[in-house]
């Protein structure tokens, strides 16, 4: 993975020193909360319902074992012994003290981490496919370009006061695991007819109160033009994005209001002025960063596959875990092992300091010291030998980390909701917990198959409910928590926005309603059909019927 050189290190150290001075000015009363707010937000520090919350960047979701161990230490030393992995592949700490945050950031800098631009109206932490570098269906590792974009966007002098926050995602695979089409800018690595590798650039996707799927502005941008093309898009957005209404300030609204043709025309006109200039990306810089993402020293396949097959036959519980949580690797003899952070009754995405330490140890032992964070709020050991999966599984199980439910009904995305967040209308976490208990039976989960449930506690949609196969949105109805259900959303390459099925359900009713939807699916599905396929075939009617017929 990428390692800082002296420039990166000095930059992050100086950013911590700058923030330390800002915190000092706040604590000494030189800055009011109003003046301090934009400064702390640019460094990922929020003021939540009960305390400050610090969001730490995990660039494109890649962590080393040493970094994970530091995150565990921070959870113990500065928080209450746990952290929360987020839908942007980051980690949040819910209880740090303001006066201690500079020291916390110094500790992060020791392991080449930071909280730069994890908040604020700037270019946020760039996300990528969690299987980058190990997926069989990949053209090139997207993290090379995510790292280049991370550097270019860090304290960008022109784009640090945008109309609104700005999210970029990159994938190099045909299968979209990074929800690329619901980002402000999405980059798909493509190979053109001449065999050259470049990017399809899509713009204007997003969730929130106006969910939209991104549209293509250019089907092929050469690598050397990556930064100039991005700068052209950002400059058009910075100048023309709406600033009169924060709910209409995202780039998706600009694209929608002027139309993709006019938007594209402006971007192309701007790009014509700056291409072939100082932003030209030198091939040697790409090569320099590429080298950090070279594959590790894989061992020959040997008997790995046969050993795994034998172990699967002899242990059904292990077999169930492999079936749902192990994914095909590009290297023969290896597997991608997914670690679910969605145990029965747990808080989606939460991990204790002990669990983080255990994952760090296991990464060292089994996965070339590398870990990934997924936007589904799980962890990944990307490079595990197939004949080591059994030992790994046993070790994970001892830490409560072997729940075999990846992409199943209890693998739920949920935002922090009203338990923590000052914007929320309703709680998300308890709904996720109740659902995971209701569907705890693993045999039933595997029978239901792939089903993505996503829960947001308000219309800002941090829990991605718009793109859940089943989405749940918390709303406030006269001071009571209600939940609106959407069906048919999807975050992958066939991205779609779910449709509201009907009137919202009370907190007491919503889990029953979800179960009724799942039972209906099981009744009407055809052989081999996933929930989303069945919904695509039969539409909303059978589900409406069972939910609202009695009313």
């Amino acid at each position: 993975m990428y390692r800082y050189d002296e420039f990166d290190r000095t930059f992050v150290d100086q950013r911590v020193a700058q923030f330390r001075d800002q915190v000092r000015r706040r604590l000494e009363g030189e800055l009011s909360e109003d003046e301090f707010r934009p400064l702390r937000l640019m460094n990922g520090l929020y003021l939540q319902l009960h305390a400050y919350m610090l969001r730490v960047a995990v660039p494109y979701g890649t962590l080393s074992a040493a970094q994970m161990r530091k995150l565990a230490h921070i959870a113990r030393r500065y928080d209450r012994g746990y952290g929360h992995f987020t839908t942007r592949q980051n980690i949040q700490y819910n209880w740090p003290k303001l006066s201690e945050t500079p020291d916390l950031l110094d500790e992060l800098a020791e392991v080449e981490m930071h909280a730069i631009q994890t908040s604020g109206n700037c270019i946020r932490n760039v996300t990528a496919d969690q299987f980058a570098g190990v997926a069989a269906d990949e053209i090139e590792d997207p993290r090379i370009y995510a790292e280049i974009i991370r550097q270019w966007s860090s304290l960008h002098p022109e784009f640090s006061f945008l109309p609104r926050k700005f999210k970029v995602a990159v994938t190099g695979a045909t299968r979209d695991r990074a929800a690329v089409k619901v980002h402000d800018i999405g980059l798909f690595i493509r190979r053109n007819a001449a065999g050259e590798v470049g990017f399809e650039v899509v713009v204007g996707g997003g969730q929130g109160r106006t969910p939209m799927i991104a549209k293509t502005v250019r089907s092929f941008v050469e690598k050397r033009h990556l930064l100039s093309y991005l700068e052209a898009i950002m400059r058009v957005y910075n100048q023309f994005g709406r600033r009169d209404n924060k709910f209409k300030a995202r780039i998706k609204i600009l694209v929608h209001e002027i139309g993709i043709e006019e938007f594209t025309r402006r971007v192309e006109a701007e790009w014509a002025e700056i291409r072939d200039g100082v932003l030209d990306l030198p091939a040697d810089e790409v090569a320099r960063i590429h080298a950090y993402f070279a594959p590790p020293a894989y061992e020959p396949e040997g008997e790995a596959a046969a050993t795994l097959a034998r172990q699967r036959l002899s242990d059904p519980a292990f077999n169930a875990w492999v079936r749902s949580n192990a994914v095909a690797h590009k290297q023969p003899g290896y597997a991608i092992a997914n670690i679910s952070l969605k145990p029965e009754g747990g808080v989606p995405g939460d991990a204790t300091a002990e669990q983080m330490d255990a994952v760090a140890d296991l990464a060292e032992q089994y996965s070339f010291s590398e870990i990934r964070v997924t936007h589904e709020q799980n962890l990944v050991l990307p490079d595990v030998r197939q004949d080591a999966l059994y030992e790994l599984w046993q070790a994970l199980d001892a830490q409560g980390l072997a729940t075999p439910n990846l992409n199943l009904v209890t693998d739920i995305i949920a935002c922090p909701g009203l338990d923590y967040c000052s914007l929320a209308n309703a709680r998300s976490i308890p709904i996720a917990q109740r659902l995971s208990r209701r569907f705890a039976d693993l045999k039933r989960q595997h029978d239901i198959g792939e089903l993505r449930i996503k829960i947001s506690g308000c219309i800002n949609a941090c829990g991605h409910h718009h793109v859940g196969h089943i989405g749940i949105l918390g709303v406030d109805r006269k001071g009571e928590e209600y939940y609106q259900i959407t069906l048919g959303g999807s975050a992958d390459e066939d991205a779609a926005i779910g449709k509201i099925i009907g009137p919202a359900f009370s907190s007491a009713e919503v889990v029953d309603a979800l179960e009724a939807i799942v039972e209906t699916y099981l009744r009407v599905r055809r052989e081999g059909e996933r929930f989303i396929d069945t919904y695509g075939r039969v539409g909303a009617e059978p589900f409406k019927e069972v939910l609202y017929a009695a009313a």
């Binding site: 050189d5 420039f7 020193a17 550097q151 304290l155 640090s160 910075n238 030198p282 810089e285």
Partner: protein, 168 residues
């Protein structure tokens, strides 16, 4: 309002004119873009310099052809979070080659000095007597930058490249 220019507090010699104010015979004046566009033939031949004030939604392009006749461009920041002026400044400096004074006016924070300077501003309307001290601190906060901008610093990519070239 005191003026912070190149890191020092200086007297502001420019007289801001409202659109209905009469134009004085001499002395530098600062007018709105609308007034400049309406009266540029008269303003251009005055014996004293003219400056133009751009609102945050005025484009740099609107002034592009006139920059040879303008000694000062003031860009307004109605709120510190309104970042349009950063693009305006870079376009004036980098695309249209403006070399006169580029002044940030309105609501700016000391923590924005570095961003503003990197985009090409060299003068700031400030209300705090401690501004020069804050300016010096802000300018010293970072040694290098990842992006090329209007201040002419080589980007970190360029520095890496140079170092490799020097080693070869």
């Amino acid at each position: 309002m005191p003026l912070l220019k190149d890191g020092r507090l200086v007297e502001d010699p420019w007289v801001p004119l409202a659109d209905e104010d009469p134009v004085p015979k001499d002395g530098p004046v600062l007018v709105s873009l609308a007034r400049w566009q309406a009266e540029r033939e008269i303003l251009r031949v005055r014996p004293a310099p003219v400056g133009v004030r751009l609102a945050s939604d005025d484009s740099a392009e609107a002034l592009a052809d006139d920059l040879a006749d303008v000694a000062l461009v003031a860009v307004d920041f109605p709120a510190f979070a309104d970042g349009r002026g950063y693009s305006t400044a870079r376009l004036l400096r980098e695309r249209y080659g403006f070399t006169g004074e580029l002044r940030a006016v309105g609501n700016i924070l000391r923590d924005q000095y570095l961003f503003l300077a990197r985009c090409g501003f060299d003068a700031f309307e400030v209300s705090d007597a401690r501004a020069p001290e804050a300016w010096r601190a802000a300018m010293a906060e970072f040694h290098n930058f990842y992006q090329p901008a209007a201040d002419g610093y080589a980007s970190i990519i360029a520095l890496r490249h140079r170092r490799v070239a020097a080693a070869e």
